[in-house]
């Protein structure tokens, strides 16, 4: 995993106790992917939110208790990852795209 810095987005200013945070990075070959689209789908597969990854490949959602799917889109690729979120916790997810 050369080139990737371990550790998630800073949480300064986020009221972690009252939020169900899902955050992480999108990577390709271990390197951060900027500008990828990450879609948050709820337990029923319904779209809930979408963000673009930052210059360092990071994304963040404020979800609710439950099971969610992260669908990541970049030119020529779409990949799904399941994640569980709960209020008061930060779920860290790294998503590796096929090279």
């Amino acid at each position: 995993m050369c080139g990737a810095t371990k550790g998630g987005l800073g949480l300064a200013g986020v009221d972690v106790d009252s939020e169900a945070v899902i955050q992480g990075r999108v990577l390709r070959g271990g390197n951060p992917v900027a500008g990828a689209y990450v879609r948050l789908l709820d337990g029923g597969g319904e779209f809930t939110a979408e963000v673009q990854t930052s210059a360092t490949g990071h994304f963040r959602f404020f979800a609710a208790d439950g099971r969610w799917t992260l669908r990541t889109l970049a030119p020529g690729v779409s990949t799904d990852r399941l994640v569980v979120a709960s209020v008061g916790n930060v779920s860290e997810v790294d998503i590796e795209l096929e090279a």
């Binding site: 986020v14 009221d15 009252s18 939020e19 500008g35 689209y37 879609r39 948050l40 709820d42 029923g44 319904e46 779209f47 809930t48 939110a49 979408e50 963000v51 673009q52 963040r60 959602f61 404020f62 979800a63 609710a64 669908r71 889109l73 970049a74 030119p75 779409s78």
Partner: protein, 288 residues
């Protein structure tokens, strides 16, 4: 309006990049996206700084809108093509806004910025400057804008379409999940509203689904095609997306966007609110 007049493809835009009567306008919540790269020749509008009154919660007035478009070099007879991030939420909002002030030829780029990027099409960081014009906006077309009293009166009488996510509709979330959830207003939805998330109208790449698919989606959700419709969301931008679908693509005659949306309605004193996944009744039995 119809799909052929209201929507253009990325290919169409590529072919009209040098057409002087076609003005590309990127509209974002966060204009750093534009600054990092935009479609060649596109100017930017900031939905908050440019389109909202800085003090009151309302739009800029007709004179201010005229001055804005004059300054940005848009003429009354230009073809304005809007696109943006967030699956075109704010571009659709600007589309509705341009229609509100009577601009004749407005179009939306199907799929917006996302489709353009996923196609790996070219973006430019060149500064874009258009010569100033003398733009004259019309009076607001109130037939496409709903206020809170229209919305309360529509409970049980017209179609109300809540286009937020199911969790926001039910009251489990107060904002889209990419935003912090702390809000002043109450959670829930307007009683009798059907929940058709804006996203059901779009494919993953942000393009709109076909007319047949769209009719099926809203029909299955319980929309009565013989009734007038008010669409709302949290702040009126996602509901502009649905207003575009119903009024411009499916050519429903009387569709209004309630731009006050949940941040207004959810803060009103004394209005009915429904919780949970069902639309709820027009006049719930209340004790006391």
């Amino acid at each position: 309006m119809s799909r052929g007049q209201a929507l253009v493809t990325a290919d169409w835009v590529s072919e009209h990049l040098d057409d002087p009567k076609v003005v590309l306008v990127e509209v974002d919540e966060d204009t750093t996206a534009y600054d990092g790269g935009h479609i060649k020749g596109a100017i930017k509008l900031d939905w908050k700084q440019d389109l909202q009154d800085p003090v009151r919660r309302d739009f800029v007035n007709k004179e201010q809108f005229s001055a804005l478009l004059s300054d940005r070099g848009i003429s009354n007879d230009d073809t304005v093509v809007l696109y943006g991030g967030n699956n075109n939420w704010f571009a659709a909002y600007a589309y509705w806004y341009f229609k509100l002030y009577g601009h004749e030829d407005v179009r939306l780029l199907d799929g917006g910025r996302k489709k353009w990027e996923l196609d790996a099409r070219e973006l430019s960081t060149d500064e874009v400057k258009r010569e100033p014009t003398t733009y004259v906006a019309r009076d607001q077309d109130r037939s496409i804008r709903a206020f809170r009293d229209d919305t309360v009166a529509a409970i049980g009488a017209q179609n109300l379409v809540d286009v937020r996510s199911p969790d926001e509709f039910a009251g489990r979330l107060l904002a889209p999940a990419h935003l912090p959830q702390e809000q002043a207003q109450r959670a829930g939805h307007i009683p009798t509203a059907v929940n058709v998330p804006w996203s059901k109208a779009a494919n993953d790449d942000g393009t709109f689904k076909s007319d047949d698919e769209l009719k099926q989606i809203y029909g299955d959700a319980g929309l009565d095609w013989n009734k007038d419709t008010i669409a709302y969301c949290r702040i009126g931008e996602r509901s502009s997306h649905t207003w575009f679908v119903l009024h411009e693509l499916l050519e429903q005659p009387n569709v209004k966007n309630y731009d006050g949306s949940w941040t207004e309605y959810g803060s009103l004193v004394g209005v009915p609110v429904a919780l949970g996944d069902e639309p709820g009744e027009a006049e719930p039995n209340q004790e006391g």
